[in-house]
């Protein structure tokens, strides 16, 4: 949560992301455990290195067993479809030239994106990259640990890992809501997602919730 106005550094981003990296690393361990049998070690590491999105990777691996290849691919890409609007939102803030923009865009995940938001739709690219690198390393290291020592860890659900992520997103949300519009967008986004959960495949409720940001079109006090 970089302070608006003052430009941040990659170090600021890395420091802000450090506590989140612990949770992301543990989630990576859980992914490694699950993926060891379903994907094999090499494919699991390549998956974490290229896709770098926990929820989509979990969905893909769990559906590969039951829903088949097509189901796994569609679910994972739907879950990651939110990165289309997220990419649009950070685009004006990313550095030149093109190759740096592309690298920075890959380091944009839910957590680094939220940390780098300075308010008003402006993002600090250095904070984004610093936070993204820390989270990326934590995700890869966690995946590797889970693959190597899965049988020692047991069922991640017994440890409450599945409740850790909504809590993490909640803490990030608390840093994002500064005014009534932000609160209205959050309530509306949550309501849209909840309403669609029983009817739509995973991922659709999340991308559909992005309509809630149209609250920003309402004139009046911010």
């Amino acid at each position: 949560m970089a302070t608006a106005g003052a430009p941040g550094t990659m170090g600021d981003g890395a420091r802000a992301a450090a506590p989140l990296a612990v949770a992301v690393g543990l989630f990576g361990v859980a992914f490694g455990v699950l993926a060891a049998d379903a994907l094999g070690a090499t494919a699991a590491v390549v998956f974490s290195a290229t896709t770098f999105a926990g929820s989509a990777q979990f969905a893909a691996v769990s559906l590969l067993g039951t829903g088949g290849v097509a189901g796994a691919i569609v679910a994972a890409l739907l879950l990651n479809s939110r990165y289309l609007p997220i990419g649009v939102s950070v685009a004006p803030s990313l550095p030149r030239p093109l190759w740096r923009r592309l690298l920075a865009a890959q380091l944009c995940v839910d957590e680094s994106w939220a940390i780098a938001h300075q308010g008003g739709g402006r993002y600090d690219a250095r904070v984004l990259v610093g936070a993204g690198i820390v989270l990326y390393l934590a995700w890869l290291a966690g995946t590797g640990l889970g693959l190597a020592g899965g049988e020692l860890i047991g069922d991640p659900e017994d440890l409450g890992m599945d409740a850790a992520f909504p809590a993490l997103f909640l803490a990030l949300l608390a840093g994002q809501v500064h005014d009534r519009r932000g609160a209205a967008a959050a309530v509306l986004g949550g309501a849209v997602a909840l309403a669609l959960v029983p009817f739509a495949p995973a991922g659709v409720p999340i991308i559909a919730a992005s309509v809630a940001c149209l609250v920003g079109l309402r004139p009046g006090r911010a």
Partner: protein, 105 residues
């Protein structure tokens, strides 16, 4: 190509494309103020949706289980201004405890 590698390749390439599309197509152009006002609210909208789907989401059903108890603990920790790791740990510990006691499946 095995099924596992097919999934890894397509999802990996697709995710990179989704993340790159905005920055490549828009370049570094500044967006109109109205668009910025909308995009400023994308973070709270999507984060709230992620909280809801990760807490209550099941296989096309709303599920009330130990995750909800964990989230309630996280809300309490946030209201007490606990640091982020404490918020996350509170959720995990409470969810694990509730599950171990067999209160919510």
């Amino acid at each position: 190509m095995s099924e596992a590698w097919l999934v890894v390749a397509i999802v990996g390439a697709g995710t990179i494309a989704l993340k790159s599309a905005g920055p490549v197509l828009l370049g570094g152009r500044a967006l109109p103020p109205r668009v910025m006002a909308v995009l400023a609210l994308l973070a709270p909208s999507l984060l709230a949706a992620l909280i809801v789907t990760n807490t209550l989401g099941g296989d096309r059903e709303i599920v009330l289980d130990a995750r909800a108890a964990g989230l309630a603990a996280a809300v309490a920790a946030l209201l007490l201004r606990a640091p982020l790791l404490v918020v996350v740990a509170a959720a995990a510990v409470v969810a694990a405890g509730v599950r171990a006691l067999g209160w919510l499946a």
